[in-house]
Every structure is written in structure tokens, then in C-alpha cells.
Assembly symmetry: C2
Homo-oligomer: 354 residues x 2
């Protein structure tokens, strides 16, 4: 608390990201990074962009990158908004669409940045409790609202909500002119994207990131798909904060990532195979493993408390994510690493549980 | 206007950046980029960082970069806040410090993003008219306020306010626990930085960018210097929007930029020499040229309207900045390019005026 802060700044509750150890001595399974490097073509494209043109501002409209994404999703590039990671895109979407008299709705167990955005932009926010199996109680969202926010697949549970259920939310809110925001950070690891529904629903905004499936967490690129009215709303927010949020190298690398689909298909395949293998081994160790549609698993042990497992794994050089929060404080979120990393995890867990 | 937008989104007035032609066929003197490329060591450092670690999130605390900046400014690294360009840093500073009952104060002629931030964050804002010679009327700022914002040197005028005058603002506001925000985007081209005063004044925040003096507009790096209480306020805002605003390559390039001071001393010297030469030639063509402490000149012709000169220069392949705004609508802001670019400018102006 400082006397120099604006009124209200002491009350906001900033997001705390997962630990990012700088020495990298850990097996790092705590922030859902992809265990495989970006496509070599992406790295080449970035290197090729490192030249004297760095003295010039980047294209604030991200024209070339949006053209590449438009081709990938078969939509007009006018329906794409680019941001500095999907976190920034989400923040702008909260500001642009969720400020109404009725509260916005989001699940009580979901990405913990959502209530932070709501508090920061002074939006009324009501959480809806997920069911005991962590599935989304769609009926309970069908009430007057200032907008609905879902991660799909959800984090940290990994559960996917089928698109026919998303349609029910969209239909309800369409009649009331309210937005449904679907955060698809993990969709490429097992979900089905709602992106094609943007053609039908002017109230749908789908948010994507290149951090997970494109192995580019270090480059900071995210985007949103939606009809032009929504894109215009996001542009208004962006242009009230920072005209140039993506640098020249992020533009070059992200564009190249959309040109090497076969590379990323293969890394996804490997992540899913490892997830299947690791799930079996974790279950054999006495863990309950929620069925995951993401590049992580959400697990709970039948006898040993999650917080203790977290601490013992850290002591043994493995970082996983533990949330000291109601309902999930006996769970761990474990990112899917390489086969080798997951073997080390299983070994260490065997020692801890043994 | 859209029915899906949040209440108030239709009323905000987004910033419009200078034209960024993608084909680059123009002599581009409209957005104050440095005409010289970044240090070769910066480009090497970026290329060296393009590797498989791009799959990992960057360090959200920017530890290594802040250490480099701390050494350059001889201050503790705890007094440095990093952002995605100084525009983002300024936006966060407006939110963090300028929201009080009294209005924030800024000059009527200054960086046109300031009123945009104020409107977006719903801050009361009062503009103080600069004098007829565009100098800052310091006495008129010594009234109860929610914070004072100045660009120094000012944009688009290029005028520098000496530090003894900045001290008067700081002293007045210190007694009232209000912040003075000094935006020093252009200070390395002729001003004297207020940065050392941060040791004395807990109410001073000084904002810098690497876009101009470090020739890195394409990399998106800015930072603020201030005491720990102010830095903590900025961190709260950042962590309510986006945990990772600087990507791995921006961190690597910016760190290297602070290690090659001799290169940048030379490019600055060249810009200042060109500015002196161009000023003489512009005056010979009948322009009034405001004495500039920045990498641009603010000029007005005694007989031909600025808007017409702007349009004719554009038709001849030269972009300069024209602001259709009260008091400055007969001025042009012209970035200092290379000697060759400025010779082309002078030739074309000769044709237009001839």
C-alpha cells in the first residue's frame, strides 16, 4: 500500500504466475509449456527478421500474420485480433465486452486470471460452481448475465465441454446481446474448437495462444477470432493502451508457425501419447487422474496430500503446480513433458509414495 | 458502436499512431524512428537467443535486463519497471498513480496518447495551455492535482524543461503525495534526464524507451525508474493484465543495447549533427524551426499552410507528421533522418515552395 497509488490500486488482486526458475535446473512441469521446441522453420524465420529494420516500428495491424491465420482458419482476416499473448487478449476482451449491469459469469474452478481481470476493470463477476466431477453446469449459466467466460478445455481440470453445450450458452446470450468468451488455450490437445461458430454467432469470441500448441510461450503471441464488431471493440481497448503490442520478431515467428502445420501435428501427437502413458502410470501409483483434453493432467492421490507431494517433488527437482484454493487444494496440475521427463516424475513419485 | 461492447467503450477515444507504410517506399520521417540501425551486437544477441528455449515463458521479472539498466543508471534494480514499449509503461502509470479526486494535469500540447489513457481509465484530466512559444508554464501546474504528466523534451515541440523547473513541480506535489510523471522518450537527444532525482523524490516516475535512442522501435521495450513503492504500483497493474509483456528476444536485445554505449553515442552524435544542418536549411527555405532537444524538429512555414506541405510531401514520397489540432495545425513534425534522407526532404520542399 502506498499513498501515491490511485484510489483502488491497493484493492486489486494481481495474478501470480507459476514459478519461472531462471537457473532451469528443474524438470519444469508447472506452466504447461510444450516440451518440444518450436518448428525449426519458425526459428529460421525469426533469425531472418533480425536486421536493421528493427529500428522501425512493427506493423500495428499485424497484416501479414493475420493473413496467415485467416488462411489456417478459413475466415476473413478482418475477424482476427492479435495480442501480446492470450492473457493480454483476454484482458482486453474483459474490458471490451463484459462491463454491463448484470454480472459476468465464470466457473468457480477455472483460469485464475479471470477474477483478476474482473476486479481490475471493476466488472461485477459471479462464479458458478462446477459439479463435483468438475464438469460445467451449463443450465446454471442460462441466467441474465453481463457475459460468460469459459476456458475450453478448462484449466486446471483439463475437462472439455462439447460444442453443442457451448451453442446453448451462445443461443441464450444472443437473444440478450451478451458475449460468450471461449478461451481455447489448450484446444489443440484434444478439444474441438468453437472457432467455426464465429460465422454463425456475432456474440462469440474465441481466444487462442501460440504458447502451448505452437511451443512459443517465449514469443508472446495470442489472438481472438470473432465478428468485426467484436474485433473493433478489442482494437479500441488496445489503442487506448499500446499501439504496437507485437514486435517484429513475434510477427515473423508467429507467421512462420502457421506455415508448418505438419511439424506441430507431430509434436501434438507425441504429447497425447505421453499423456496416455503417464495417465496409466499415475493411476498405478494410486492417483485419481481426471480425463484430460489438454497438455496437462489434474491429479489427486488417494492417501497423500497434494501440497506435500508438491513440496517433496520440488525438493527432488520437479516443479508441478499446486493451487491453495477451495475445492482443488488436494490436486496437482502436471504439465505433460517429454517421455524422459515424465519417467523421472513417475520415479520420484514412486519414491515419495513408497 | 456495437450492442456487445461494455458500457463506456463507445466513448473512449483510441490513439491513432503515425502511418506505418508496409511497402516502405516512403522516406519515413513521421514516427521519430532512429535512422540508424541498432548496434550489431544487439542483433547478434537476439539471434543467439533464437533457440529451443523459445518454448519456455520469458522471465516475467526481467531480472537480467533490469540488472543491465541498473548498472547504466547506477540505481538498484528494484527501482526499475519494464514494459512493452513506453506506451504500455505510461498506460500502467496512468492507472497506478493518476486516479485521484483532483484532476491530473498535462500540457495542452504534448504527446496525444495522454488524454487517451486518461479517458480509458476514467481519470479526470485537465490540460494546461503551454505559452505561445510552446514552453511549459510551470506556475500554472502548482495547483492541487491528481498527478502531473510531462514529456521532456516535449513532443511534438521538442522543447526541454530544465530540471530546476521539474524540481518545483516535484516539491509542490511531494507535500501533497502526488506523482510527477516525466516521459523522457527523447531525452538522449539533448535533454538532461530527471532519473537521478528519483533518489530524492519518492513521487517521481521517469519513463524511458528503447525505440528512439537505441534504434529498437521494432522490439517494443520501455521502462520506468522510480522508488520501490511506485514500482510496486506498476507491477500490480501489469499483473492484472499480462504477466509476461516482454518476450525472450526483447529481453536479450534490450540487455545487449545497454552494453554498447559507444555505438549509440556515435549514432546520437550523427542525429544531432544532421538536426543542426537540417535546421539551417529549413530556415533558409522560410520555415520557423523550434529549437529542438529531440530527434525531430517542429516547423511552420511563413507562407504555405502545413497541411498542404504535408500532402505535397506525401505525394512526393516523403512522410512527415501533421496534427489537425488546435494551436498546432500549421506545424509539421519532421523526424531527423540520415543526411541523405534530409537532403531529399530539403530538395522536395524546395520544389514545393519554389
Amino acid at each position: 500500500m502506498s499513498e501515491y497509488w490511485s484510489d483502488g490500486v491497493a484493492e486489486i488482486e494481481p495474478y501470480v504466475p507459476g514459478e519461472q526458475p531462471r537457473d532451469q535446473k528443474y524438470v519444469k512441469l508447472n506452466t504447461n509449456e510444450n516440451p518440444y521446441p518450436p518448428s525449426p522453420k519458425v526459428l529460421e524465420a525469426i533469425k531472418a527478421a533480425v536486421d536493421s529494420s528493427m529500428r522501425l516500428y512493427p506493423d500495428p495491424t499485424c497484416e501479414v500474420l493475420r493473413t496467415a491465420i485467416a488462411a489456417r482458419f478459413s475466415i476473413p482476416k478482418t475477424r482476427i485480433f492479435m495480442g501480446n499473448g492470450s492473457d493480454e487478449v483476454l484482458a482486453f476482451a474483459f474490458a471490451a465486452f463484459l462491463g454491463h449491469e448484470e454480472p459476468l459469469l465464470c466457473p468457480d474452478i477455472s483460469y485464475s486470471f479471470y477474477p483478476v481481470y474482473a476486479k481490475f476493470f471493476r466488472l461485477r463477476c459471479r462464479t458458478i460452481a462446477v459439479k463435483s466431477d468438475f464438469s460445467i453446469p451449463v443450465d446454471e449459466f442460462l441466467i441474465p448475465n453481463g457475459g460468460i467466460v469459459l476456458a475450453n478445455p478448462n484449466a486446471p481440470t483439463g475437462k472439455f465441454l462439447p460444442l453443442d453445450q457451448i451453442r446453448r450458452l451462445l443461443d441464450y446470450n444472443l437473444a440478450r446481446k451478451r458475449v460468450v468468451l471461449v478461451d481455447e488455450a489448450y484446444v489443440e490437445f484434444g478439444g474441438e474448437s468453437a472457432s467455426p461458430l464465429t460465422a454463425e454467432y456475432p456474440n462469440l469470441l474465441v481466444v487462442h495462444t501460440l504458447s502451448k500448441s505452437k511451443s512459443l510461450a517465449g514469443l508472446r503471441v495470442g489472438f481472438a477470432l470473432g465478428q468485426e464488431e467484436l474485433i473493433a471493440g478489442l482494437e479500441r481497448i488496445k489503442s487506448s493502451i499500446n499501439s504496437y503490442t507485437l514486435d517484429r520478431l513475434a510477427l515473423a515467428g508467429a507467421t512462420a508457425a502457421f506455415a508448418d502445420e505438419s511439424y506441430y501435428r507431430e509434436t501434438r501427437r507425441k504429447v497425447l501419447a505421453t499423456r496416455a502413458w503417464a495417465t496409466e502410470r499415475l493411476e498405478a501409483l494410486g492417483f485419481i487422474v481426471l480425463p484430460s483434453s489438454a497438455n496437462f493432467v489434474f491429479i489427486s492421490h488417494k492417501s497423500l496430500p497434494a501440497e506435500r507431494i508438491y513440496a517433496e517433488l520440488k525438493a527432488k527437482g520437479i516443479l508441478v503446480r499446486y493451487f491453495r484454493k477451495p475445492r482443488i487444494d488436494n490436486y496437482l496440475r502436471v504439465s505433460i513433458g517429454t517421455d524422459e521427463e515424465m519417467k523421472i516424475l513417475i520415479e520420484r513419485l514412486g519414491e515419495i509414495l513408497g
